[in-house]
């Protein structure tokens, strides 16, 4: 198939960038040790793991880092403890336990020999010091998570009192009285869900940027490799055969041939089209690589390898630098492309 070239130009524009946010939940099973630990947190108790040599680790280990043995038993520790080292964060980041300046600390809970990393709500760095005594501030809604401890706070400060309260070593308040086990009949915690939300500034490659800008103009622009002459659309930036920038822009028509396809019968969250529908690899005329798109406008059973198709563009005022400028592909009604013309793309 000959390349149907309308014009050539070197890519010179600056790349497109856009903010991108990725959000998903990790749902993890806890296993026997962490399951008990999280169940206890829900009940405002902290557990540690006693190893074969008697050392108590809190948070607990699942397998002893030295002997590889599981804990001999889980025992109550703290909940108050001592700060072993700390840092002070003047500008908290999203997702952290506090949204005002706070301390991070490694805290050795009473009765344990290892330390827990958590936040300390001390009001100012001046109130932090190694050796200070702290105790958990429990979250109002506890689900069986390390975040059931909202943060730690200096002992000597009445619970819920403002950050500026005077601290004194000698004024430790008594332990929080034993709380009735919140729903002692509640099922043990076996799973934990951790929401993840990350923000990126995503940059398209120069070739991808040219492709996307073309879509905003209702045009399809690929890139040709200067060494082997192959045409890629959307651009891959670099020719995967030669490892050199494929940076000669080539405009392609919006017609092509189906090289392979599948009929989607399964519904899934976020789906844009009601099943059944066809997702196909479309080889644009003049391109050396197929790209994936929807085939609509015919019965799914009519789609076949060699079917000639044309892009159906969205209304002109919806064109933008996004792949959705093309709604889908639809049959042209031409005779099928001969098998030999698509054979090497299968």
């Amino acid at each position: 198939m000959n390349c149907n070239t309308f014009y050539n130009e070197r890519v010179t524009d600056t790349p497109l960038t856009a903010p991108m946010e990725i959000a998903f939940d990790y749902t993890r099973s806890l296993g026997p040790v962490l399951g008990q630990f999280m169940t206890a947190l829900r009940e405002r108790r902290v557990l540690g793991a006693r190893s074969a040599d008697g050392t108590v680790h809190s948070p607990p280990f699942e397998y002893d880092p030295v002997t590889s043995l599981p804990p001999r038993e889980l025992v109550a520790v703290g909940p108050a403890g001592t700060v072993l080292t700390w840092s002070w964060l003047a500008e908290p980041l999203p997702g952290q336990p506090l949204d005002r300046p706070f301390g991070w600390a490694l805290i050795r809970l009473d009765g344990a020999e290892t330390a827990m990393l958590h936040a300390v709500d001390a009001g100012s760095a001046d109130a932090m010091r190694t050796g200070m005594r702290v105790r958990p501030r429990w979250a109002a809604d506890r689900v069986g998570s390390i975040r059931d401890i909202a943060c730690f706070e200096p002992c000597g400060k009445a619970p819920g009192v403002s950050e500026t309260a005077e601290l004194s070593e000698s004024s430790e308040v008594p332990e929080v009285p034993e709380v009735p086990l919140a729903g002692a009949d509640a099922a043990p915690v076996t799973m934990t869900v951790t929401p993840v939300r990350l923000r990126y500034q995503h940059t398209a490659s120069p070739g991808e940027s040219t492709y996307l800008r073309g879509l905003a103009d209702g045009r399809l622009i690929g890139q040709r490799c200067p060494v082997c002459g192959k045409v890629y659309i959307p651009s891959r930036g670099t020719c995967p055969v030669d490892g050199v920038p494929a940076d000669i822009a080539v405009e392609l028509p919006d017609t092509g041939t189906v090289t392979t396809f599948s009929i989607v019968n399964v519904a899934y969250p976020g789906q844009q089209v009601t099943p059944p529908y066809v997702a196909a690899a479309v080889l644009l005329d003049g391109a050396d690589i197929a790209f994936q798109h929807l085939i609509l406008g015919c019965e799914p059973g009519e789609v076949r390898i060699g079917l000639r198709v044309r892009a159906v563009w969205r209304p002109r005022d919806e064109w933008d630098t996004t792949a959705s400028a093309i709604s889908h592909f639809t049959p042209t009604g031409e005779p099928d492309a001969p098998y030999e013309t698509v054979a090497r793309f299968l």
Binding site: P15, M20, Y26, R28, L30, L34, H57, P59, F61, P65, L84, T85, W86, S87, W88, L89, A90, L93, P94, G95, Q96, P97, W104, A105, L106, I107, R108, T114, A115, M116, L117, H118, A119, A125, T130, I146, R147, T192, T194, V196, L198, R199, Y200, Q201, H202, T203, A204, S205, P206, E208, R236, G237, T238, C239, P240, V241, D242, G243, V244, P245
Partner: protein, 356 residues
């Protein structure tokens, strides 16, 4: 025993790259060309490829596959990937040659740190049950280690500022450095904390970059390079993933040392210390000072990671920089170090030397 040497090294300038994608190809294509030109190799000569990068940093799945386009992987190549710094990719490449499966291997690493919130992304390498849900940022975690050392009397904030000033001065003239220049200690110490006790100068800058190192076995190495950097030892150690169960100051003091003891005297040591206090900790651990078994060594003549820390490439660049010191005749023996994980959790050391 197969002998293996570093015969080529190139790195991209560490910068905030607004023109580069997280797939790395824009940063990799030029340095592949540079290292081919320096060695006379072509892609078909490379028997094994291995890369280091991170999908979390890239914000997309299988981002390393896009980087393979920079190779030109047709016909098919033998290729692998580690979700770690490229220094660990180099280790895999070294094993591949040592086991006789390749004669020439190329390792590369790349990272576009500026596209992500690096301090938050790195929270996801922490314990996913007990620690990561709190989102402790990487700088705050390093600050916990820094204060431990201060309170143990191992270093002071002034010592840390002196490390920053020395590295920035050394980086003058290094085209790959992101920051460089002469700075006064008192000016640095007058600046505010980012995460007390760490100030901005105590932390590596956030930047984007890539690095590539080529290894070759015995006779091939001698053909490709006048003065190959022969690898005499190459090993890595991992500390517990539990920050509160590990002595953050004994990192290295005894355990980081070579399985056979000190790495021995070296002329140049390129240490991957993304925080100033970590350079001090590593110097002690590896015994690089005057009177120490490994010293006195010139430490980070490139300016080190404090002057350019492209994630997933900076450790490989340290080994490459140490190898370059041997290949250019600046050193007869050099040590490259790479780290990964929070507060020097993982450490890798590669010692190289020149031979007649």
């Amino acid at each position: 025993m197969t002998e293996v040497a570093v015969v080529g090294f190139a790195q991209s300038p560490c910068r905030v790259r607004e023109d580069a994608t997280t797939g790395g190809v824009e940063m990799l294509v030029p340095i592949f060309a540079e290292v081919y030109a320096a060695t006379g190799l072509a892609k078909g000569d490379i028997g094994f490829w291995c890369s280091g990068s991170s999908d979390y940093l890239a914000g997309r799945a299988f981002s390393f596959v896009q980087a393979v386009d920079a190779i030109g992987a047709v016909p098919p190549i033998m290729e692998s990937h580690v979700e770690m710094d490229g220094a660990w990719a180099l280790y895999e490449a070294w094993v591949k040659i040592m086991s006789g499966e390749a004669e020439i291997a190329l390792a590369y690493g790349f990272g576009k740190s500026s596209g992500a919130e690096l301090r938050r992304v790195l929270a996801l390498q922490l314990d996913p049950y007990l620690v990561a849900p709190l989102w402790p940022d990487a700088v705050s975690v390093a600050a916990l280690q820094a204060r431990l050392g201060i309170e143990a009397g191992l270093w002071t904030e002034k010592d840390m500022a002196e490390v920053a000033a020395r590295c920035r001065s050394a980086a003058v003239g290094n085209p790959a450095a992101q920051v460089s220049g002469e700075v006064a200690i008192e000016d640095l110490l007058a600046r505010p904390y980012v995460a007390d006790p760490l100030r901005a100068h105590d932390c590596a800058p956030v930047g984007d970059g890539a690095a590539v190192v080529i290894l070759a076995s015995g006779a091939r190495a001698r053909e490709l390079c006048d003065r190959p950097a022969w690898i005499t030892s190459f090993w890595h150690r991992i500390e517990s993933g539990s920050l509160g169960a590990r002595d953050l100051l004994s990192v290295g003091l005894g355990r980081i040392g070579s399985p056979r003891g000190s790495p021995g005297p070296v002329d140049v040591a390129e240490l991957h210390a993304p925080f100033t206090h970590q350079e001090i900790l590593l110097r002690r651990a590896l015994g690089l000072g005057p009177g120490d078994a490994g010293g006195p060594a010139e430490v980070c003549p490139s300016g080190g990671a404090l002057c350019g820390n492209p994630m997933f490439a900076a450790g490989l660049a340290r080994i490459g920089s140490a190898a370059r010191a041997v290949m250019t005749g600046r050193a007869d023996r050099a040590l490259g170090h790479a780290t990964s994980g929070p507060a020097l959790q993982q450490n890798l050391v590669c010692v190289m030397e020149a031979r007649r």
